[in-house]
Symmetry: C3
Subunit: 167 residues, 3 copies
């Protein structure tokens, strides 16, 4: 069974940088699975910033929804899924059944051979949001993080670019 | 003197589940002290979700304001107070003196015999809220957490369902 | 080269209290470098609260923008910079080049002899803010924390008034 890592933390806490280093430590070259859907220039700028930092050792795959499929298609080398929270956003904005999708993802992990490093965001440590959608989203993100963390061999919480081992 | 535990963390970070396990490990059966006031259907649904997860080993007590009284009345077995942040909300929305209430709670702890596990929320790790009430609330919640943590024998910070020992 | 500490955490998580104790442990008396600009009564009240808690061992310096200058001028004793996040706020609201200022600050650290304890806020662990300025600010705050953490000899994350060692 594949080794599963989860790297979670706040915005700009160094999650992706840490997760990239951990993925390459598991094997080179590696797959980079981007879940971002490019909605506007701001997001395009963020993605370009991340891509510029990564080197030629990475093969990039864009997959906003079907993580089960892309994980099966990239089972020959370590892969980084960046990130679960954007994947959840895509599911919820697309009015998909995110719980079913999350459970299908978790169910698919034992069949994988190559390691998977998941990046995720912690979004539940601020004041309760005013609007219902944001509250539902932060609840879903929290549950998703718990489920993936339970399945993971190792869980890292990043603070100021530094890893704290949680599991 | 009673053993005091504090389990704090973000929304959907697994605080309650961890705190329930810790309470039952201190003794069975146990008391569940719910501080939630049911304002609307959304909150009723959240409470029902929590209750469904707990088993018959729990006696439930609903007490939105007077924690000193309910802790004295349940001093025959371990109890879980879920949660301090909703208690603070009730105090502030009811225009009570929350600092006096918090100090009375802390002053009452040394007289208790049975363990108390408090659940609390971390709400101060997002952007500064726009409105004054939310800023006052997050300040109060932060101070309350500090005070209870100082009085506690053990403090746990939960991330993605996993406990990190802080004290 | 000066010993550099970073104490980061949420609002009312006990960052300043911990940082003050750490600064005095490095030497007495010490300098307190306040970056706050007093905009309104609410902020004045917060500052008065902090000042009341500190004792006569501290010499206070108010410097909202030029940290390089004030660190050079106070290089005879340990100093506490409280805090980097307000400094960043001042730079961004004043439409200064915060990245250039941050890099100048980092470049100045190796020339210092006396220890520096920086206090900073974690602001990236809530829901993505609605407005662009807040998103830019939390990105900048996250990068600034990463850069200072990378330069620091020790990094502390405070939760409920308690220190967690990150580095």
């Amino acid at each position: 069974m594949a080794r599963i890592l989860l790297v979670t933390g706040g915005a700009r806490s160094g999650k992706s940088t840490h997760a990239e280093a951990r993925t390459l430590a598991l094997g080179r070259p590696a797959h980079y699975i981007a879940t971002a859907e490019i909605w506007d220039e701001e997001m395009a700028a963020r993605i370009a910033l991340h891509q510029a930092r990564r080197g030629p050792e990475w093969t990039t795959h864009a997959e906003p929804l079907d993580l089960v499929k892309v994980l099966r298609a990239t089972d020959d080398a370590p892969r980084l899924v960046d990130c679960l929270t954007l994947w959840l956003t895509n599911l919820m904005l697309g009015e998909r059944d995110w719980e079913a999708a999350a459970k299908a993802l978790l169910a698919s992990l034992p069949d994988l051979a190559a390691p998977v490093v998941f990046v995720s965001n912690e979004v539940g440590l601020g004041i309760v949001p005013d609007n219902r959608l944001a509250r539902d989203f932060r609840d879903a993100a929290g549950f998703l993080n718990q489920w993936v963390a339970a399945a993971a061999d190792e869980v890292i919480f990043t603070v100021a670019g530094l890893p704290m081992k949680v599991k």
